[in-house]
């Protein structure tokens, strides 16, 4: 069952300050309404994983690692590889993360990142077939949240795409019914570079890339994933509150512009390495 969350209490004064600044077009950390925090990406952080990236967006730190295996394909897609995204809200990342079975936040985060990657066809799953109907590559993307300062979604999408962009797949030779792992590996080719933009709504204002306090004070957030060709592949409103149709259409327009710039910064190392 999904239960109304108990949010950490933000003092009235902090909330008032937030709104006061917003009315002047400013934010608590000095950013403008549509400015992202500092973003840094370190590729190949975990050498033992086939692909990995550590992303820091402001203080939010997320490690994404890709483990590659071989598996039976799903019955309805016998010639396609398997992509599975999992997210772990590691307890050390925040006082509100508790150990235990996956919470609805972690499941919702993983599923949104999955949709962002899958629907944009960032990875061409049909190119991950080894023996049709019998053996395909399985890509497990594990998102490990190490420090939570708001906006897990955008940082997770960036971390995942970067991790995929560094992924090396082992080559297999096919001998009749058997496959044999070879010593060579080849790079996973990315077909798209999606980015997501998350907006927090506070009263009638909205800001991009909310930090933790902005997220807690907000009525709700809207995440929008945009592909390289400026089309959208995933959208989700998270939290209660009401979104006006007009604001929603404004967000789409903004996301195209902000998306271009974010993509440039987030995936600069991948494009260089290609």
């Amino acid at each position: 069952m999904s239960v109304t969350e108990q949010r950490p209490i933000i003092s009235k004064l902090e909330k008032q300050e937030l709104y006061r600044l917003l009315a002047e077009g400013k934010r608590v950390d000095g950013r403008s309404l549509f400015q992202h925090r500092n973003l840094s990406v370190q590729l190949g952080y975990i050498e033992k994983a086939e692909g990995s990236a550590l992303v820091e967006l402001g203080n939010t730190k997320i490690l994404a690692a890709v483990k590659v295996g071989v598996a039976l394909p799903f019955a309805d897609t016998p010639n396609e590889g398997i992509l599975i995204v999992n997210a772990e809200l590691v307890p050390l990342a925040s006082p509100v993360f508790e150990p235990g079975p996956p919470s609805e936040e972690s499941i919702s985060l993983a599923r949104y990142v999955d949709r962002s990657i899958r629907e944009s066809k960032t990875v061409d799953l049909s190119s991950l077939c080894i023996v049709p109907g019998r053996s395909v590559y399985s890509l497990y993307i594990d998102l490990y949240i190490l420090d939570y300062d708001g906006n897990l979604i955008d940082a997770s999408v960036i971390a995942s795409v970067n991790a995929l962009g560094t992924t090396m797949l082992p080559k297999y030779s096919v001998e009749g019914q058997n496959i044999k792992k070879l010593d060579e590996s080849f790079k996973l080719e990315l077909k798209d570079y999606p980015v997501s933009l998350t907006y927090a709504f506070l009263g009638d204002k909205y800001v991009v890339d909310p930090c933790l306090n902005e997220e807690y004070a907000s009525d709700f957030t809207v995440s929008i994933t945009v592909k390289s060709d400026d089309r959208f592949c995933a959208i989700q409103k998270n939290g209660g509150g009401m979104l006006s149709p007009k604001s929603f259409l404004d967000l789409l327009e903004k996301s195209i512009t902000l998306g271009k710039e974010l993509r440039r910064v987030a995936y600069s190392q991948l494009v260089k390495n290609d």
Partner: protein, 242 residues
Amino acid sequence: MGEKISLFKEDGRRTDGRAPDELRPIKIKVGVLSNAQGSAYIEQGKNKILAAVYGPKEALPKHISLPDRCILRCRYHMAPFSTPERKSPAPSRREIELSMVIRNALEPLVMTSLFPRTVIDIFIEVLQADGGTRCAGLTAAVLALADAGIPLRGLTAACAVGKAEGKVIVDLNDIEDKYGEADMPIAYNPTLDGITLIQMDGIMSKEEIEQALSLAITATQKIHKMQVDALKERFSLSRREV
């Protein structure tokens, strides 16, 4: 690869004969369960969904309650026989996400500050699924809340819009959801002109989304009218007791 499934017939009609902006036949009945404080049943195309509300009641254990408002507990669940392949009764990741997304759509609707320290339980059971179940379930849940006499900021109706073979369509059935290009469920409150649920997956351009949103608002307004009629019918004398 498998044969390509065509989602449109030669005359431009969809696989079930509908026009692109046509809703499936909808039947709604309010007040169908004797134990729940409020309940509603909806059939939309082949979807058969039951919603029930218990509460407001004392929130126990006390630590889950909030001092200044009522909390909502929402469960969206699919019966094992609701889909062609039997679905395990254990909640799937999808059901967990949808329970959350539906609860978020109901939070701004319920006037929760009127019942501090209590809880309202909302149950949505999909008995038969054919695409658009979170929307139909939400539409029914809103009626169950109204049936329970819980004060609401108006009503909310939901419908999925999307894209198939380049055309924007309304109220996707299961095949269109699986083989189409995009699916965008939306819940809309006409009294407050607000969207309380919106998700999209697939590929859509900004123009396509604008078009789909406009169709969604028209569709949800139609469904809203059906909700109003169903509520009035529930409490009128002319309804025969079954």
